[in-house]
């Protein structure tokens, strides 16, 4: 499942970010592989918003498609 498939409002665990630069930038923002974040918002045809510790990250759609996740509702 990719971040693009996540239902808004659900907690998800980031498994893999398939883009070198984005991966580094996300780690700086506090989101590494393994981090649980909230899939906050999906703009129609637009970017995806992810929430993590009172901060919001906006990620382009194409990039969101390269971020693998799993549902973390039980975690």
């Amino acid at each position: 499942m990719t971040l693009l498939d996540a239902r808004p409002g659900r907690p998800v665990r980031i498994l893999k970010i398939d883009d070198e630069r984005a991966r580094a930038q996300c780690v700086r923002f506090g989101i590494g592989e393994g981090t649980v974040v909230e899939s906050a918002e999906k703009l129609p045809f637009g970017p995806v918003l992810v929430r993590h510790c009172q901060q919001e990250i906006c990620m382009g759609r194409k990039l969101a498609r390269r971020v693998l996740i799993e549902d973390a509702a039980g975690a």
């Binding site: 703009l43 045809f45 637009g46 759609r61």
Partner: protein, 620 residues
Amino acid sequence: MSATAACCEPTTVEAPAAARRIVLVGNPNVGKSLFFNAFTGLYVDVSNYPGTTVAVSSGRMGDDVVLDTPGIYGVSSFNDEETVARDIVMEADVILNVVDAVHLERDLFLTQQVIDMGIPVVVALNMIDEAAAKGVDIDVEQLSRLLDVPVISTVAVRREGFDEVREALDEARVGRSDRELQERLTELLDRVDTRPEALLVLEADPFVSERTGVSVDGQRDGVYQDRRRRVNDVTAAVVHRPQGRADFGARLGRALVRPLVGIPVLAFTLFVMYEVIGVFVAGTVVGFTEGTIMQGYVEPFLRGAIEQVTGSSGVPYSILAGEFGVVTMTVTYIFGLLLPLVVAFYLLMSTLEDSGYLPRIAALSDRLMSGIGLNGRAIIPMILGFGCITMATMTTRILGNERERRIATALMAFAIPCSAQLGVVVALLAAAGGGTIAIAYGVIMVFIFGLIGLALDRVLPGKSTDLLIDLPPLRLPRPRNVLTKTYHKTVMFLKEVTLYFVAGALLLSVLELTGALQALQGLLAPLTVGWLELPAAASNAFVMGFVRRDFGAAGLFELGLSGTQILVALVTITLFVPCIASVLIIMKERGRLFTAAVWFGSVGLAFAVGGVVARVAGVL
């Protein structure tokens, strides 16, 4: 390549031998400049870092030199801001790292990276009041113990904690890094000069690797993830966060990116901008500065002065004070027309930036922009393009890569009318009765804009970068900060472009004196009459658009055109070549080949589209 130039020439600020270089470092919007202003007072030097639009401020605090750096999330070279900050950080004696108490998890990554570099650090834990208001509880002593550097709580807007920070600078410490990481850095030290260099080489920073001739591949992910783990451990130990509902600011921030609320708010914002800049500044203010002050007083004075030296005729007089006089035209254009517009644009953009709304506009427009090979961040130069293509072309430096800069520059040069031109376009549309003609003009321009974007995205090699930004909390902008930003950006703009306007005027004078301008008009006249079905004199208007885009459009007023003819003429003139100053800036930023392609491309496109519009309108 501007970035390369910047990396190889670190700024040198002269300092007495005993003085320390204190460097302010922090994420964007954490209040660094408030510290800088309080510490350095009035005598501050702001300069444009070579090859970038990034401003670096430096000032004095006692014997020490204090340098402010652009806001960054980490030290590397992902963009111009980082490149500049990286070079300054690497030369620092002491680092004052300002962190946002509300977003410690994010901010401490940079803190830990600087600690890993082995540079003495003091941490200012800023906005501690905001954190308290949100119920975030931070164990400051424990944080200081874990990082092993002084940590001072501050509220920068009220200057709380500033004295303590100043004192703590004498106790700055190297801090606790990771033993294994430091061992790896020590191994690298026989090949590079300093520990910061060693770390950046290990993190595969392309510029530092090239500069030192040492490269290490495939380590960055590991180093980053390990640092992230350490930072998370520290935050987990010192931060206690309540599980609660989002406050009003956060909820408003979220609503603003949802189309249902976001699009009407954006439309309203753009409408206000248009009223303020397009109507008030471009009309009323410029009417006064350009018409009354410049043409009424300054130009006659300058002409008189030049006449004393050169006499009132002959080549030197024409070049200096003639129709495109290097002295007269440049002064009027820059101070009468551009200055008020540029100030107005930077004021509004700085306000949007400081309020935290600008990143949300980028989020909203990402979908549209990604269709034409750009991402949401490109909305910033696009908006500025409606002010001045020259200013906007410089701002394309914020975009992710050269491919995006090319697409954005070309789109602006082709299809975005600058404010000077827009003023005349609106007046002509009103003269044509507005309504249908105005809508047709808008639809055609948006259509062509999209078409050019799609085509460039297809044709240009490479890949554009994706949007990946942090949406900061919404805040009320601080007027002082907005004014300072506007002032520095305006000064920088003037410094950078004045020479190009002088060169442009000189080139035009030469073209006119040699008859080249008239020849070009003659060349275009048959096309204008036969293909566009406009009077021959309209070709003068097009060629004058090369001088100043609004001169061109203004020339159409006197021709008594019909509604259809106005539409054809306006479409053609908007698509026609950008003014000579922007052509020169485009050449500087994107190179000769690109500029030639844009220039000839826009002549071709303008006439092709204009002709098609004339044909279609004729049938309708």
